[in-house]
């Protein structure tokens, strides 16, 4: 409870939580498109390639202010993406190799620049290594304002080009045939993704930022089949785990913010995959069990009718054991019999034998007829 109140009273915690929340909203919403377009790993490449941009921006401006570093990160991330696209379109190198290579090479170059900066007398440690795993506690109010403005701009552009982005995500060729400049739209969407990633670098860090692109969207996907709902849900999940992670990490200065946020959002993904209606694993398991049960009840109904017909009496009773020997799933027979009785399709004689009621006979005849029709 104290944490909740300190969210509103504690300056640092409030700043950090706000920053992480904004990052979650923006990366969640734009990540939805990336995930749908199977570009989940593009986020990984963009965030890693931001590192040399951050280092270069620091070298040029000599300042640690978030705005300059974010511009540097954005330009580098954007150029990195264009490099990936160029490699794919101008050579036989496939997307996975191009992504991995650009990511690792530019990150390596970033490390070169960082090791160079750390030797500079005036820079000291410069605090740039916080960008590796994120340290939200260093965030200032003006950083959060910068993030909020950039994030809001990105979301507004997303809303303005909603139809185009939807087209790009689901049927690019159709869009092109309608005369939309799909390449330009593609680059615009990627630019927005770059903005989303850059916003999160300070809290989550370059190494794990890709998770904030993929995970909220992957979680949201389980709950809906509609793009609009998915984007909103992803934003909510992202914001929720951003705030949770930031709070968790503020409880101890030995928990880096990035990993804390990633664990929170991953928990959301896991829960969504398990429990979401329609798609969730648990729901599917239940549905499968229910189908299996229905099927064995129906089979039993038909068995009973067939058996009784051999006695020229459709209401002829039989023991549960007799029915068991006919069943393809003998262990479920008692349960199925209870189910039949519940529906009023079968009942017990005084000797404990089972017989079909009139209602049950009608139902079984119906089922048999259906089977005959299908065959």
């Amino acid at each position: 409870m104290q944490i909740v109140t300190s969210l509103f009273t504690d300056y640092t915690l409030r700043t950090v939580a706000l920053g992480a929340g904004i990052l979650g909203i923006v990366s969640g919403a734009l990540g939805a498109f990336a995930v749908l377009r199977r570009q989940a790993l593009l986020g990984d490449a963009i965030s890693h390639t931001a590192l040399p941009g951050i280092a270069l921006a620091f070298l040029i401006t000599g300042s640690r202010a978030a705005f300059g570093l974010m511009i540097g990160a954005a330009i580098a991330g954007w150029l990195g993406t264009l490099a990936v696209m160029a490699i794919i379109s101008k050579s036989r190198i496939k997307q996975d190799s191009a992504l991995g290579m650009v990511l690792a090479v530019l990150f390596g170059f970033g490390l070169v620049l960082m090791s160079f900066i750390q030797r500079l007398p005036e820079a000291g440690k410069a605090g740039l290594d916080k960008f590796l795993f994120g340290q939200a506690s260093t965030m200032m109010t003006e950083d959060v304002v910068t993030m909020a403005v950039a994030g809001a701009l990105a979301l507004i552009v997303m809303a303005l080009f909603w139809k185009e982005f939807k087209l790009l995500s689901f049927d690019q060729d159709f869009g092109a045939s309608m005369g939309f400049p799909m390449r330009v739209i593609d680059i615009l969407l990627i630019t927005l993704l770059v903005v989303a990633i850059v916003i999160g670098l300070q809290s989550v860090g370059v190494v794990l930022m890709s998770a904030m692109v993929v995970a909220p969207a992957a979680a949201a996907r389980q709950w809906t089949d509609r793009l609009g709902v998915m984007v909103v849900l992803a934003a909510i999940f992202g914001a929720f785990s951003g705030v949770c992670g930031a709070v968790l990490s503020s409880l101890s200065d030995r928990i880096p913010t990035g990993p804390a946020i990633v664990l929170c959002i991953s928990a959301v993904v896991l829960l969504s995959m398990l429990f979401a209606p329609n798609r969730g694993l648990l729901y599917n398991r239940l549905r499968a069990a229910r189908r299996r049960r229905d099927l064995s009840v129906e089979a039993l109904l038909i068995d009973m009718l067939e058996l009784a017909r051999q006695h020229n009496d459709t209401g002829h009773p039989h023991s549960a054991d007799t029915l068991r020997t006919m069943s393809y799933r003998p262990e479920g027979i008692d349960h199925s019999l209870q189910e039949l009785r519940y529906h009023g399709w079968a009942d017990l004689t005084v000797d404990g034998l089972w017989f079909l009621t009139g209602k049950g006979q009608t139902r079984a005849t119906e089922l048999l007829q259906n089977l005959g029709n299908k065959a």
Binding site: A104, F116, L132, A218
Partner: protein, 378 residues
């Protein structure tokens, strides 16, 4: 060069070649990003094993970390198989979790030991020679060199022994299973290689260099050859070039060695990307220009051929008419005519153009080649 410098370069070269070998199959099978996932996730295994045995030099760490690499691959596959997420998302979901747990464990409980978060990613090759390997009290070289040398030999052995299987599974998995070679077994063999290599290289050079060296040199080689054996050899070669050039640049500029090697692997790729004999940007540009020239010469021949000897020839077969009729720029018209004259296909008399005998033949031949059904204008 001092002894330490030679040792560092030896380690760098061994890492580079050890990474390049499995990397070839990764990029051919389009699963290069798994190397990124594995190289991050192995940290989880290392950290957990470290908490159990409390000894960074224990071979148990390598086993545990390799197992984590395989666990990552298996988890990605399980996620993929639920059909709830696509494969790329699955990769993007699995490794951040393992990596995050590892980073939190390290920064929370292992603050005082050698295992810190920076060295995880960056690795510090410069320190590798300080960690000596001793047999019966005698110093036999840096521990990293033995470890990575061993992994290099292992990788070479696996590729030599299972060359046929790896090749078949990479290019035609369906045929492979028809012939009784299980793609799954070969896949996990490769993944084991990638994991062991990532683990071994991890301590000395950091995880990110592993990714760079597994993808960039094979990708560079892929631009230069269509032959798998040649590609493997070239990948190793580019790995060595990246390692050595990266080391010396880092040495001169006094910056991160691993970072420089990664950068240089990208540099060599960029060189091949622009200058590769057949697939480079430059070669493609030249080829396009030649095709354009070739095409314009034929356009000219056909144009002249279809008007020559007819009443309008006086008007059509003129230099300045090409710009109107074919919508060519004067510059392009000039070039095309020059080329045609050079090849003795056309004679030029100031503005007037006339086909030579050879020109007529070629125009006719070109129209047989290009016209649908081989229709020839008489």
């Amino acid at each position: 060069m001092t002894g330490a410098q030679i040792e560092i370069q030896l380690i760098a070269v061994a890492v580079a070649v050890a990474c390049a070998l499995p990397g070839v199959f990764l990029i051919l099978r389009r699963i290069a990003m798994l190397s990124d996932a594995i190289s991050h996730a192995v940290l989880f295994g290392i950290v957990i094993a470290f908490f159990v045995v409390e000894d960074l030099a224990s071979p148990f760490l390598i086993i545990a970390a390799t197992a984590t690499g395989l666990l990552t691959v298996a988890l990605v596959e399980i996620l993929d198989r639920t059909k709830l997420v696509k494969e790329d998302s699955a990769i993007g979901l699995v490794f951040p979790v393992l990596f995050s747990i590892a980073v939190i464990l390290v920064s929370r409980y292992a603050g005082n030991i050698h295992l810190d978060t920076d060295s995880v990613l960056l690795g510090e090759l410069a320190f590798a020679p300080f960690d000596r390997f001793e047999i019966a009290g005698a110093d036999v070289g840096p521990r990293a060199l033995w470890l990575i040398g061993g992994i290099l030999i292992l990788n070479i052995t696996v590729i030599v022994l299972f060359f046929k299987e790896l090749k078949l599974v990479s290019f035609d998995p369906a045929l492979a299973s028809a012939l009784g070679i299980s793609p799954v077994v070969v896949h996990y063999l490769l993944m084991t290689q990638v994991s062991i290599t990532a683990v071994g290289a991890f301590d000395a050079v950091g995880s990110i260099l592993v990714v760079a060296l597994m993808i960039a040199p094979p990708a560079t080689a892929y631009l230069l050859t269509d032959d798998l054996r040649r590609m493997i050899v070239l990948s190793g070669l580019f790995g060595v070039m990246s390692a050595l050039s990266g080391y010396w640049i880092a040495h001169w500029m006094d910056v991160s060695i691993a970072g420089c090697i990664a950068s240089m692997s990208g540099f060599w790729f960029a060189v091949a990307f622009t200058l590769a004999p057949r697939r480079g940007l430059l070669a493609a540009a030249i080829r396009r220009r030649n095709q354009k020239k070739e095409f314009s010469v034929y356009m000219l021949l056909i144009h002249l051929f279809s008007h020559e000897g007819l009443p309008e020839a006086e008007l059509e077969c003129r230099m300045d008419h090409l710009t109107d009729h074919l919508a060519w720029s004067p510059n392009m018209a000039e070039k095309a005519v020059e080329e045609a004259v050079d090849r003795q296909l056309v004679v030029r008399d100031d503005q007037h153009l006339k086909l030579t005998k050879k020109g007529v033949d070629q125009a006719r031949a070109a129209m047989v080649d290009w016209a649908p059904g081989g229709y020839v204008a008489s």
